[in-house]
């Protein structure tokens, strides 16, 4: 009798997990499998007859200059991740000192992260305005005769997006580092100081290695998060000028909902997945090798 009850209680596990599982099945698993299948078809929205075309989409991908351009743009975009991590670390170390208004400062640095990327992107669009915008106004007033065109020229546009992303992510990285710094033992730092270590030495030789697990985590999650985004780019440049800000995630969106070339869009999206998979595998391998505990 009692055993029976225990067993029934254990069966309740499925009831607890079930509803959520159903959603994951419907909105994640089935679409993922479906998408994988689409990769081998020529499905287009306008022409609903689906034909199996084998590996043609993948062959097309390998010869698609726009795919490689968007891959390159994605890599430039990802440069923003380590930069925002280092800056977040520096701000966190300073905010961890004896200073006033700590909470207010923390809130101010964090603020960009909680606001909608799209709304903020529109503000940056005007700030970056090449002819009259306030950023170039400032640059001209301090004697820069030819300030960059920011979002409006093909050579600078991706870096302008990087600046927005660094600004957006800095506060998040800072918050996570602040939590990690609480775990750094103050006795250790005290001992180092007594031994005559200079502040920058302590920072580089003790604190930075001690928070390396956090750095690693931020790097991996930051890269994955950046790879999945296209909102701020779609809102500001729509991938332009001249595809110079078309990153992979945006290229998927364009193929699917601008050209309605859905089979090919699915193929590009799995290339995106392959990169995420690669980063995740690096995480497994790297965690053991590069992180100092």
């Amino acid at each position: 009798m009692h055993n029976n009850w225990m067993r029934r209680q254990r069966m309740l596990g499925y009831i607890f997990v079930g509803p959520n599982m159903l959603g994951v099945l419907l909105f994640f698993l089935i679409p993922a499998v479906y998408s994988f299948g689409l990769m081998f078809t020529d499905y287009k929205f306008m022409n609903p007859d689906m034909t199996f075309i084998g590996l043609d989409n993948i062959k097309r991908l390998m010869k698609d200059p726009l795919f490689f351009l968007s891959l390159r743009n994605t890599l430039i975009f990802l440069l923003a991740v380590p930069v925002s991590i280092v800056l977040g670390f520096i701000v966190a170390v300073i905010l961890n000192q004896k200073i006033y208004l700590k909470k207010l400062l923390r809130g101010l640095y964090f603020m960009p992260y909680i606001t909608s990327g799209v709304a903020v992107a529109f503000v940056w669009m005007l700030l970056f305005q090449p002819n009259q915008g306030p950023i170039n106004g400032l640059l001209r007033s301090i004697g820069v005769d030819n300030p960059p065109g920011w979002l409006s020229t093909t050579t600078s546009s991706m870096y302008a997006i990087d600046i927005i992303w660094i600004w957006f992510m800095l506060g998040y990285n800072m918050i996570i580092y602040l939590a990690a710094l609480q775990e750094v033992s103050s006795e250790l730092l005290e001992a180092a100081k007594i031994d005559g270590a200079r502040p920058l030495q302590i920072l580089r030789r003790i604190i930075w290695p001690l928070v390396s697990p956090t750095t690693f985590l931020l790097l991996i999650t930051g890269l994955i998060m950046a790879i999945k985004t296209f909102g701020i780019i779609q809102a500001t440049t729509q991938g332009g000028p001249g595809n110079s800000t078309t990153i992979l995630s945006l290229y998927v969106y364009q193929n699917a909902f601008r050209y309605y070339d859905m089979g090919y869009a699915a193929t590009v999206s799995w290339a995106l997945f392959a990169i995420i998979l690669l980063i995740t595998v690096l995480q497994w391998v790297g965690q053991k090798r590069w992180v100092h505990y």
């Binding site: 254990r10 309740l12 679409p31 993922a32 603020m111 960009p112 909608s116 779609q234 869009a265």
Partner: protein, 281 residues
């Protein structure tokens, strides 16, 4: 000299550092200040340099334009509120329910299922856009709010985060209730949920901000303007008023200010939740 209780690496005056950091923080929020200031200016003053932070001809006309007329932000707000609130409540509850199952009931296949969950986190939303579009079209919910609400009810991150929290609640608490004859349902509703209030609040706030800020799904699944959420409405406004910079900034303020308010109220929970899931997860 007094013995220092807290260690500081940079010795000279905390006040000086505070001032420097405050100045840098102001640089960080300059985009917001500029946005608000511009939304209250006249068109001629937008790009005047040096910047007039407090406009001499202060006007509310641009904010009025955003909030009135056929394409009022009022509609977008109601749509966004509806989607975000239903999503937030549903996702928080469903996550808690599943997280309890994963954390505190030992059933067959649990670990395999959880691994499957985690692997789903790796799949970028772009992979799912096309099949979801086809499925929603087929089910007749494409271009309706259901296309955002239904998937919004399920968050893998939420299950993961609450599972971590439930695991940290000592087992003895539910064991003694178990001996008293309470089943899992009673333990979940009467014991665990009340204990998990801070974690639930954290998830609710984070989830709300995600749903409120979600632009990409709305872009893919909504067409009719009267269904638009705030980010889409904002984009629409900007596409239709490309030279009205004051109006654009008034619209951007409408999109941003609610999140700043939510953040000001829930800062503690948001920060706690993000750090817990990152550092201890």
């Amino acid at each position: 000299m007094e013995v220092k209780k807290r260690l500081s690496i940079l010795q000279p005056g905390s006040l000086l550092i505070t001032i420097i950091m405050l100045a840098l923080a102001v640089v960080m929020i300059i985009p917001f200040l500029w946005m608000i200031s511009t939304s209250l200016k006249t068109p001629a003053e937008v790009f005047k340099y040096p910047i007039e932070w407090i406009p001499s001809n202060l006007t509310w006309e641009h904010h009025q334009k955003v909030w009135s007329g056929a394409k009022s932000f009022g509609t977008y707000y109601l749509n966004s509120l509806k989607i975000s609130i239903i999503g937030m409540v549903g996702a928080t509850f469903l996550s808690a329910f599943a997280a309890y199952g994963f954390a505190r009931i030992e059933f067959k296949g649990r670990n395999t299922l959880f691994l499957l969950y985690l692997s789903m986190m790796m799949i970028p939303p772009q992979v799912l856009f096309v099949p979801k579009f086809i499925m929603f079209e087929w089910a007749g919910i494409y271009n309706t709010h259901l296309a955002l609400i239904l998937p919004g009810l399920f968050t893998i991150f939420g299950v993961f985060m609450l599972r971590q929290f439930f695991l940290s609640i000592p087992n003895e608490i539910s064991e003694s209730a178990f001996i008293d004859g309470a089943g899992h349902f009673r333990i979940f509703f009467r014991l665990i949920l009340p204990l998990a209030k801070p974690a639930l609040a954290t998830l609710a706030i984070i989830d709300f901000s995600w749903q409120w800020n979600d632009y990409e799904n709305a872009l893919v699944f909504l067409i009719d303007e009267n269904l638009y959420t705030v980010p889409l409405g904002l984009q629409n406004f900007i596409l239709e008023n490309t030279v009205d910079y004051n109006g654009m900034m008034a619209a951007a303020s409408a999109g941003i200010i609610p999140m700043i308010v939510v953040f000001a109220i829930g800062q503690r929970y948001i920060i706690q939740g993000l750090t817990n899931s990152a550092v201890k997860g």
